[in-house]
C-alpha cells in the first residue's frame, strides 16, 4: 500500500452494530460518493458477559444477513474492502464462526467470489497466567487486581486487537476481513493508517464512525456515516440526506460511553481531543481537526474473560393486595427460611442465591433507592435463584414461588394466595450465569502477534 499524503481517503461505517439495521439507500449513496472501504462494528460488551461466556450472539443470524448481504455485494461489485470487527458480538471463535456461516451462505446464494481474511482474537488462559506471573497485567479502570484464580475460572478469554492485524490482512490481499474481538477504532483506522494518514485523526474519525450516525441529528446508531480523512483534518457526514452533523452533535459524541470526554485509550496510545476544533463544513457535515496522539509508553491490549457462576431460574408475578405489599419484607424472610429448611441436606443456603426484585418499589436501585415514602398500589415481583446446577436453581425457585404464594403474614386477608402469575408455567429457566472475571490490560512487546490471521478463497 502506498503513501497518500496530501490525498484523501473516504470510507463508510455501515451502522453502529451489524444487525441493528440501516436504510439500504444510505449504503448506495455512500458507494456513489466513492467510499474506499466499508467498515462495520459487530460487537460490544454492553449486553453483559453472557454472550462471550456462552459463545452466542445477541443479534440473530437473520438480522446479520439482512445487514451483511447488501454490504458484501456492494464491496465485491465496487472492488473495495469490507472490514467487519468483533464478529458475532463477542469476537471469540464460536462468534467468528457464526458470522462466517452467514457470510458463506450469502456468497453461495449470490455467487460472490473474494479473498477472505479471518483474524482470531482468542487468548489461551496460560498466556494470561504467564503475563500475570511476570507482572504484566493491570486493571482496566475499577476492575480490581487480577488473581491467578480469576484467570483459571475463565471459560473463554478474548483480546481486543488494534489496527496491526487488520492491516496485515489487507496487505495480504484480503477483500473481506472478518476479525474477532477488535477495538472499535481498529476497524476504521487500519486502512487509513496503512495508507499513511495521521494515526491521531484516523483513530478519532474511527471512534466517531463506529457508532454510525449517533453523532448526527436525528441521532441513532442505525444508519451509515461517511468519513473523509485528509492530511490535517477529517470530515463526517451522514450518508442519509435526511440527517445532518453539527459541531455540537459531533463534539458531544465523545461523551458517549466514555469515562472522560477529552481523551480515550487505544493500543496505539492516548488519543487527546482536548484541543480539537469542530466546524460546520457544508450544510450536513462537520470538519474536525487538532486531535493528538500520545503514544503508549508500553504497548497494552485489553482482555475480556468470562467465568461461569451458576445457573439461573426465575418466576415472574405481580402483587396487588395492600396488606401483602406492606408485609413484603416479612414474606421474603419467611420464604428464605422455608426454602433453606426444605433443602437442608441437598444444598446449604450459602450454596445458592435467592433474590427478590420488587419493581414499583426498589427493583432498579435496590438499597440505593431514596424514594421510600409512598407505598405502591401494585408491584412487579421477580424471584430469582442462582445455583450450581440448573436443576437446583429450578428447585429453589419452585419452592420459593409456592412458599411466597401461600406465605402467611400478620393481618392477611388474601388467604387464597399472595401473588398473581401472568404465565403458566410460572417458572422460567434462564440458563448459565457468567461474569466478567477478566477485564484487564496486558503489557506486551508485540500485541499483533496474539492475533493469528488466515486466508481463504471464497
Amino acid at each position: 500500500m502506498s503513501q497518500a499524503m496530501g490525498d484523501e481517503i473516504r470510507f463508510v461505517s455501515l451502522c453502529g452494530m451489524l444487525g441493528y439495521g440501516y436504510p439500504l439507500g444510505s449504503l448506495e449513496t455512500a458507494m456513489r460518493a466513492g467510499a474506499e472501504f466499508v467498515g462495520v462494528d459487530a460487537g460490544s460488551t454492553d449486553p453483559g458477559p453472557y454472550y462471550l461466556g456462552s459463545g452466542t450472539g445477541f443479534v440473530r443470524p437473520l438480522q446479520v444477513k439482512r445487514d451483511l448481504e447488501p454490504a458484501l455485494c456492494a464491496s465485491v461489485s465496487h472492488g473495495v474492502p469490507l472490514i467487519i470487527g468483533s464478529a458475532g458480538g463477542s469476537g471469540a471463535a464460536p462468534h467468528v464462526e457464526a458470522l462466517l456461516e452467514v457470510l458463506r451462505g450469502i456468497a453461495r446464494e449470490r455467487e460472490l467470489h473474494f479473498r477472505l481474511g479471518v483474524i482470531a482474537a482468542d487468548i489461551e488462559p496460560q498466556t494470561v497466567s504467564d503475563a500475570l506471573a511476570e507482572g504484566r497485567m493491570r486493571p482496566c479502570g475499577p476492575s480490581g487486581s487480577l488473581t491467578a484464580d480469576a484467570v483459571r475460572s475463565c471459560n473463554r478469554i478474548v483480546a481486543q486487537m488494534g489496527t496491526g492485524p487488520i492491516i496485515a490482512g489487507l496487505e495480504g490481499g484480503a477483500d473481506v476481513i472478518v476479525a474477532g474481538r477488535s477495538c472499535d477504532t481498529a476497524i476504521f483506522a487500519a486502512l487509513p493508517i496503512a495508507r499513511g494518514f495521521d494515526p491521531a485523526l484516523a483513530l478519532h474519525a474511527a471512534k466517531i464512525a463506529e457508532c454510525g450516525t449517533l453523532c448526527a441529528r436525528p441521532g441513532g446508531a442505525n444508519d451509515a456515516l461517511l468519513c473523509t480523512l485528509r492530511e490535517h483534518d477529517f470530515i463526517v457526514e451522514p450518508a442519509n440526506p435526511a440527517k445532518s452533523c453539527y459541531p455540537d452533535t459531533v463534539a458531544a459524541h465523545s461523551l458517549y460511553e466514555q469515562p472522560d470526554p477529552n481523551c480515550f485509550y487505544e493500543p496505539e496510545g492516548m488519543v487527546d481531543m482536548s484541543d480539537c476544533t469542530f466546524e460546520q463544513f457544508g450544510e450536513r457535515s462537520v470538519r474536525v481537526s487538532g486531535t493528538r496522539l500520545v503514544p503508549a509508553a508500553k504497548p497494552t491490549i485489553k482482555l475480556e474473560g468470562t467465568a461461569l457462576r451458576g445457573y439461573r431460574a426465575i418466576t415472574v408475578a405481580g402483587m396487588r393486595d395492600p396488606g401483602a405489599i406492606a408485609h413484603i419484607g416479612q414474606i421474603e424472610a419467611g420464604v428464605r427460611e422455608a426454602v433453606s429448611e426444605n433443602l437442608a441436606g441437598t444444598i446449604e443456603a450459602d450454596g445458592y442465591s435467592l433474590r427478590f426484585l420488587r419493581y414499583g418499589m426498589d427493583g432498579v436501585m435496590g438499597t440505593l433507592e431514596t424514594e421510600r415514602n409512598t407505598p405502591p398500589h401494585e408491584i412487579g415481583f421477580i424471584i430469582e435463584a442462582i445455583a450450581p446446577t440448573q436443576e437446583l436453581a429450578d428447585s429453589v425457585v419452585s419452592l420459593a414461588r409456592s412458599t411466597a404464594l401461600h406465605c402467611h403474614f400478620e393481618g392477611r386477608k388474601c388467604t387464597a394466595g399472595n401473588l398473581a402469575f401472568p404465565f403458566s408455567p410460572s417458572d422460567l429457566q434462564a440458563g448459565p450465569v457468567y461474569e466478567f472475571a477478566v477485564y484487564h490490560l496486558m503489557e506486551l512487546e508485540d500485541p499483533d502477534a496474539l492475533f493469528p490471521l488466515r486466508f481463504e478463497e471464497v
Binding site: G48, P261, V364
Partner: protein, 101 residues
Amino acid sequence: MRLYECAKVMRSKNAGPFTLTIDLMFEDRESFDRVLAAAGFSTGRIARLYGVPEDSVQICPFERVLTVKVTMPRPGPSSGARGDRDVYGCQQHFPLADMVL
C-alpha cells in the same frame, strides 16, 4: 431545584462493564455554571448517594457542549454479574437526579 429539572438531558450508561458514567447536559451556560459551582454538587456527596469511595468519583466538565460528566465504579457488581440490576447501566442516574442544589 432538583438536578433532574436543571438538566436538558440526564443519562447514565456503562463505560465498560465496571464503570458507570452519568452525563448532565444543560440548555444554557447559566445552568451549567450554577450546577458546577453548587457546594452540594461534590464528589463526596455523590459518593455517599451511590455507596462508592469518594476518591473514585470524577466530576468532569465538558464546556464545549455544556455537559458535566460524572464517572464512578459501578455501585453494584460488574455488568450482568450475579446481583446486578441494570446490565447496560441506563437507569442509574437516580439518585443523583434527585439531588437538590
